[in-house]
Structure formats: C-alpha cells, structure tokens
C-alpha cells in the first residue's frame, strides 16, 4: 500500500496520475476470524484500526451492510469538541480530542482536522452560571475553556442577533481546540489504515443472524455466507436494538432520526462552530463555503434514514433566531441518520451477557467527535477484556445500579437527550 507524501504526489503528477492505487482492498470473507466487527462506520473502522495497530490483533474482519461512509459517519455535522461536565465523560472526550490532534500523521491521510473553535452561546443568568461551571470543570480536567462576554462575542461574531427579544445573547463558552473534521475522510483514513494492517473490510455484507453455542458466539450468518469468529463486536449505532434482538438482548436504547443540512456556498462568513444555547441549533461553514447545520431529533422512533419536514422548519426557525441574515440563504441538501438514543444520553461500551459478544453503541448524537477514542477504547476492551481507563463509566449495568451518566440532566427519556 502506498504512503501519501509530497513526493508521491509529485511522482504521480509526473506520471499523469495513472498509478494511484485503491486505498483499501475489497476481499471476500474468509471462513474464520479472531474478531468480527459488525458495522463499518466510523466506530467500527476505528476499532479495527486500533485493534490491529495498537493491540496487534491482525485476523480481523469489519462487516458493513452498505458501502463505507453510507451510515452515520457520512451523515453528521462534522463537529469535534470535548466540552463535557461530568467526571465519567470528560476524560474520555478529551482523550478523543488528543487523538484527533494527531490523527492525520498517525494514519497518513488528510482528514482536514480544523481546530477553528466551538462557541456555545448563553442567553440568561442561569445559563451563564451553568456554562461557567462547565468551563471550570473542563479546566480542572486540563481541557481549554474560555468564557466570552457579549462585547468579545460581538467582535468575533458580529452577525448574531444580540437583541433577540426572547433569547438575547449574553455571551458564550468557547473551546478553542474544538472544531470540525471532514467526516468521509475519517472513514476512509481509518479504513485504509486498518486495511494496511491486514484487516478485511467486507462491504455489502449484512449480518442476518448470529450463531451461538450456549453462551458462546460461534459466528455470524451474512448475505455473503456464514463466517465463524472467536470474538464478536457490535458497532452498529442506529441498528443496535435490531442486531441485539438476534441474541435476545433488549437495550436501554431508542432509534431516532437526526437531520443535517447544508446551504448553498457562501463567501467566508463563520470561522468557528456556533451553537444556539436557547434552542438546539449549531452551525459551521465548510471549506467549500456551504453552511453545515442541524438541530433537534425528530422525537419519535425511526429507522428511516430521512427526516420529516416539520423538523426542517423547526431547525430553520432556530437558525433565523440566531442569525437573521440566514433568511436569504437557500438550503441545498438535507440528510438523516439514525441515532441510538440511550436512556441517559451517554454511550454504552461493555461486555454483554454472552461471554464473547461485545457491545458499543448508544452514542445519541455525539458519536462523531468520539470516533477515535471509541475505537481505541473498544479495541482495548476487545483485546484485554477490561475497559480502557477513560471509558469505565460506560458500563452496561449502570442503569440497574443507579450510576447514570446524565450530562443533560433530563432522566430516562431517550427523546429528550
């Protein structure tokens, strides 16, 4: 497999770009693997990458029902951040942020990691206090955070509606190290890296059944035949309940659709990620010039990878409340991904009631920024049977034991997280 460099670019340019090789192989499934990962999304590919690279497990397959990038990894708003409050969350997301910072050098692929800053706006005294507390918690964990007042914000973001009658903008909490990453390139980079470590990435291969012998998984049935394995790992966020049902497992998870939108291309306008704390609206500008934005989930269970118009209107309204100038901007595209909304809004990464089945899911709509750490920690769990030190709070039994990781504080209501 070729390494990308200035020299390879130059060499290929002089040979008229005829010698570029595919970034990963397209192998047929082997009859047996040490580890099978169901789900070739960001988390599944990252797991395969770190499993092969850091933990030396090479006989690995990733089974993807569609093509690479067809699921949530290609349907999100590309934001990365580690501005978390809770003890169980913060070190994990900061670990993820540190992996993002070295990711491109690590897997030799340009993922366009851009630390342009993430600003969460606040609109009331109570919200300011909550963000102050969050900022302090972040700094206590060694994460950067800065509270900006209204004047500082006006200088940075002059186009916001500061005089909004209902939600006047009073300031914002900024994490300067937050930003955006090109989501497709994350999938491609991890896929290429895993492939280079001899991981088989098998596309258009849907798992239709799971074979068991007592409490032991022996393999999977797929649309491309039966494949046996020593360990089976689920990383199918969006379809977690569906796949878990194959082994009679019920989960504290509901599936909900979340839409993302992109506008027509504009001249440079917003150079950070901004979130509207009053409603639920977040926006950044892509390097092509399109505004990339999103809002709330649809609110009802869905497995359809599309949203409904009611939510389009809702998101557009929230966007207009924050930036009135958006009223003249045309929305070009919208797309919907299916989220695993868990009962406390936090992910689940753990072993299961079956001895060699491992579960990774429940990312709600925060899965993208977690991609590298999720892969690393899940690989750690698969290789050592012990949770990584930053992922110990994501245990499956936390609901039954009363150790909920409820960052938003709204209780056991999946559609409110």
């Amino acid at each position: 497999m070729m390494r990308y460099s200035a020299l390879s670019l130059l060499g290929n340019a002089f040979s008229k770009n005829k010698n570029w090789k595919p970034a990963w192989r397209n192998p047929d499934p082997k009859p047996h693997y040490d580890v099978i990962i169901i789900g070739g999304g960001g988390h599944g590919l990252a797991t395969a990458y770190y499993l092969s690279k850091v933990f030396g497990v090479r006989n690995v397959a990733v089974l993807e029902k569609g093509y690479l990038g067809s699921g949530n990894i290609g349907r999100n708003t590309t934001i990365i951040r580690s501005n978390y409050l809770l003890e169980g969350n913060n070190p994990f997301y900061e670990f993820s942020m540190k992996l993002w910072e070295g990711l491109e050098q690590d897997f030799n692929f340009n993922a366009m990691v851009s630390q342009r800053g993430v600003i969460n706006l606040f609109h009331s005294d109570a919200q300011r206090d909550a963000y102050t507390r969050r900022g302090n918690a972040m700094r206590l964990h060694g994460v950067d955070a800065e509270l900006l007042n209204r004047d500082q914000l006006r200088e940075k973001l002059p186009f916001l509606d500061y005089e909004n009658a209902r939600f006047p903008i009073m300031g914002g909490l900024m994490q300067a190290r937050g930003g955006t990453v090109r989501h497709d390139a994350v999938a491609w980079g991890f896929a290429r890296g895993a492939d280079r470590n001899s991981v088989d990435i098998i596309q258009n291969c849907e798992v239709t059944g799971i074979d068991r012998d007592g409490d032991q998984i022996t393999g999977v049935q797929t649309t491309r035949g039966a494949i046996r394995c020593n360990k089976l790992a689920m990383a199918v966020a969006g379809s977690s309940s569906h796949v878990a049902k194959m082994v009679d497992m019920r989960l504290p998870i509901e599936s909900h659709a979340l839409q993302a939108f992109v506008s027509e291309g504009l001249k440079p306008f917003i150079d950070t990620v901004v979130t509207f704390g009053a409603g639920h609206f977040y926006v950044s500008q892509s390097d092509k010039g399109g505004l990339v934005f999103g809002g709330d989930i649809e609110g009802y269970n869905s497995y359809a990878q599309r949203g409904n118009l009611a939510c389009v209107e809702h998101v557009a309204e929230a966007g207009m409340a924050m930036i009135p100038a958006l009223s003249r901007v045309r929305i070009l595209r919208s797309w919907g991904g299916i989220m695993d909304m868990s009962m406390d809004g936090s992910p689940i990464m753990d072993r299961t009631h079956l001895s060699n089945l491992y579960f990774n899911g429940g990312w709600c709509y925060g899965g993208f920024k977690a991609t590298p750490a999720s892969g690393y920690c899940f690989a750690h769990l698969l290789a050592t049977d012990a949770p990584h030190e930053t992922a110990t709070a994501f245990r499956m039994d936390r609901f039954a034991r009363g150790y909920l990781l409820d960052e938003k504080g709204v209780g056991a209501q999946a559609n409110l997280h």
């Binding site: 379809s239 309940s241 019920r250 509901e254 599936s255 209107e313 039954a400």
Partner: protein, 92 residues
C-alpha cells in the same frame, strides 16, 4: 408518515401540534415489584424496526392522549385511536 397526523377527534393536523411520549410499554409494575421488573419498565425498550405502538399527546389541539400504530421504517401510520379506548379494552 407525512407531517400530518390523523387525530380521531380533530382530523388531519400538523405534526407540530403533538408531543410524543414514546413506546406503549407494559402496564406500570406494582410499587413493591422486583428491582429487575422496574429496571425493565423504566429503561429497556423493544425499539422495533417495523410496527411500533406509541403515545402521542395532541397538546396543541384536543389535548387527548392518542395511541399511534406507526411503521418506524416507512413513517406510515396504520391506526390512530384515543388512548382511553385501548385502556377500556385492557390493551394498555
């Protein structure tokens, strides 16, 4: 499902008029029921791919609780009834 919901009392109404409570679960367990029963009731969900029965509150209309039978793959609703009729039939 379009963005319209057919309320049995008000007819076709926009989806924004409704508040969604989620899956129609088994009836609430006794206060003294086993911990595992309560855990199941509060946290676990069937979350089916296909037909799902769920509570919708017509909060911006007649304010009745409805039960929708809805396909989670296609968003099509096949049946909408007032929650009280289900209760009378002992189905919820």
């Amino acid at each position: 499902m379009s963005s319209l919901v057919k309320c049995p009392h008000c007819g076709l109404r926009p989806r924004e008029e409704f508040t969604i409570r989620g899956e129609v679960a088994a009836p609430r367990p006794d206060a003294g029921a086993d911990e595992a029963v309560w855990f199941d009731h509060v946290y676990l969900r069937d979350n089916p791919r296909g037909e799902n029965r769920e509570y919708w509150h017509h909060s911006g209309g007649c304010r009745r609780w409805l039960v929708l039978s809805r396909n989670t793959l296609t968003h099509e609703t096949s049946d909408v009834v007032d929650a009280s009729t289900l209760k009378a039939e002992g189905r919820a």
